[in-house]
């Protein structure tokens, strides 16, 4: 066996000493190895540490950039401003909506009014058209009755015309009551006579019809006038059970009847009279020329 310095031990002590030296040398070698590894580990830690420092610096820079970008107070102010704008816009929209809603309601109301007006005009047009659709006296009377039944809704009524010679009102047509029930009425006598005298409409305040019809207590009395001259009256005693009150159009129909029914009656009577006279003249002429 050789010692680390290459010499061969001669004695047991030397050999033992040499062995001891060899062991020490071996442990030194092992320690050196461990130290080298420790040094390498330390180097690795230093490298990682360096990287970490670099990362920290970068993150700090990024953080500063972000802080600059966000600027929290300005952002909040912007948001608040935007919210205020949106609230104002919402209020404006609500105001516009309310305006449109109101407009819509006005239109709906106007539509109802126009519809009613249209109905009224249709009634008046048809009544007027029918009244002047014939020159036959009986047909004119029938049309007046139809208008009063169908368009006004009366159940009991009478039509009286002025007799020029007697200066009285004589019944010429009735509905719901007998003509015999209505005696001649002098101009100026009672409600009906007064209407014929003054030419003013009469509408009873107490709308409810009495159980029995009272000839001198009509519900409505309308004078039939040509200009200011009264040629007769329409007297309403009772309305149909479903007709509980007068509508606006009824008053307009009264006005229309006062004028148009009067002229229609007058024209048809005149025409009938002319026809009758013409027929008489023709008869005479035929006799003379025979």
């Amino acid at each position: 066996m050789e010692t680390p310095d290459g010499e061969t031990p001669r004695t047991p002590d030397e050999r033992e000493e040499k062995e001891e030296e060899r062991k020490v040398f071996q442990r030194a070698q092992e320690f050196l190895q461990i130290f080298k590894k420790g040094a390498e580990f330390t180097q690795e830690l230093l490298r990682i540490n360096e990287k970490m420092r670099y990362q920290v610096v970068r993150l700090k820079e990024e953080n500063q950039d972000l802080r600059r970008a966000i600027q929290p107070e300005t952002a909040i102010q912007d948001l608040e401003r935007r919210i205020s704008e949106l609230i104002r816009e919402k209020e404006e929209l609500l105001e516009k909506y309310a305006g449109i809603e109101q407009e819509n309601q006005d239109f709906a109301q106007r539509y109802v009014e126009i519809e009613e007006e249209n109905n009224n005009l249709a009634n008046l047009y048809i009544a007027s058209y029918q009244l002047h659709s014939t020159l036959d006296y009986r047909e004119v009377l029938q049309i007046i009755l139809e208008i009063i039944i169908n368009l006004i809704g009366a159940e009991e009524f009478a039509l009286l015309l002025r007799d020029e010679k007697k200066d009285k009102l004589l019944v010429v047509a009735t509905e719901g009551i007998s003509q015999d029930e209505i005696p001649p009425i002098a101009i100026g006598e009672g409600i009906i006579g007064k209407v014929a005298e003054t030419g003013e409409n009469y509408i009873r305040k107490d709308f409810a019809s009495p159980e029995t019809t009272e000839i001198n207590n009509p519900l409505v009395c309308i004078p039939l006038k040509i200009k200011e001259y009264v040629i007769g009256v329409i007297v309403l005693y009772r309305l149909l059970r479903q007709k509980t009150q007068f509508a606006e159009v009824d008053y307009e129909l009264f006005t229309l009847l006062a004028g148009h029914a009067a002229t229609a009656i007058f024209s048809s009577r005149l025409y009938s009279e002319s026809e009758r006279r013409l027929s008489t003249f023709r008869g005479f002429i035929d006799l003379l020329t025979r």
């Binding site: 139809e146 149909l240 479903q242």
Partner: protein
């Protein structure tokens, strides 16, 4: 739009004109008129109508008789029928409805109500 054919049976020319005036607001409407129940029945048997409007008080044949004959008839007996009358008593209404009327209006009635009722019966939506 296909035409709507309506038969109006009413003895009063004034009321007939009033009803027709209201009905003419329906687009594509064709109206036939009759002045009593017999004339109404004749016209009904000659054409196919979408609706018949009948007055009750009429000469020769009254409206209820006509209504009853249409419902018992051999053709188009299920045609919608609207009664327009001066008879406002509940008993009259019940009688007309029990005979098969689809609607019952009492005079005087505004044109707009006539139109609205006709639209409802015919299922016409504005």
């Amino acid at each position: 739009m296909s035409s709507i054919k309506i038969l109006v049976v009413e003895d009063s020319p004034t009321m007939r004109q009033f009803i027709c005036f209201a009905l003419r607001r329906l687009p594509g409407v064709e109206i036939s008129e009759a002045s009593d129940g017999v004339e109404g029945l004749k016209k009904f048997t000659l054409e196919n109508f979408n609706l018949v409007m009948i007055d009750i008080n009429m000469p020769i044949m009254d409206g209820l008789k006509l209504l009853s004959l249409i419902r018992k008839g051999p053709s188009n007996s299920k045609v919608p029928i609207l009664v327009i009358t001066t008879e406002g008593a509940q008993a009259d209404r019940d009688r007309a409805l029990s005979l098969g009327a689809d609607g019952y209006l009492t005079k005087p009635t505004p044109g707009s109500i006539i139109l609205k009722t006709v639209k409802r019966i015919l299922g016409i939506v504005d």
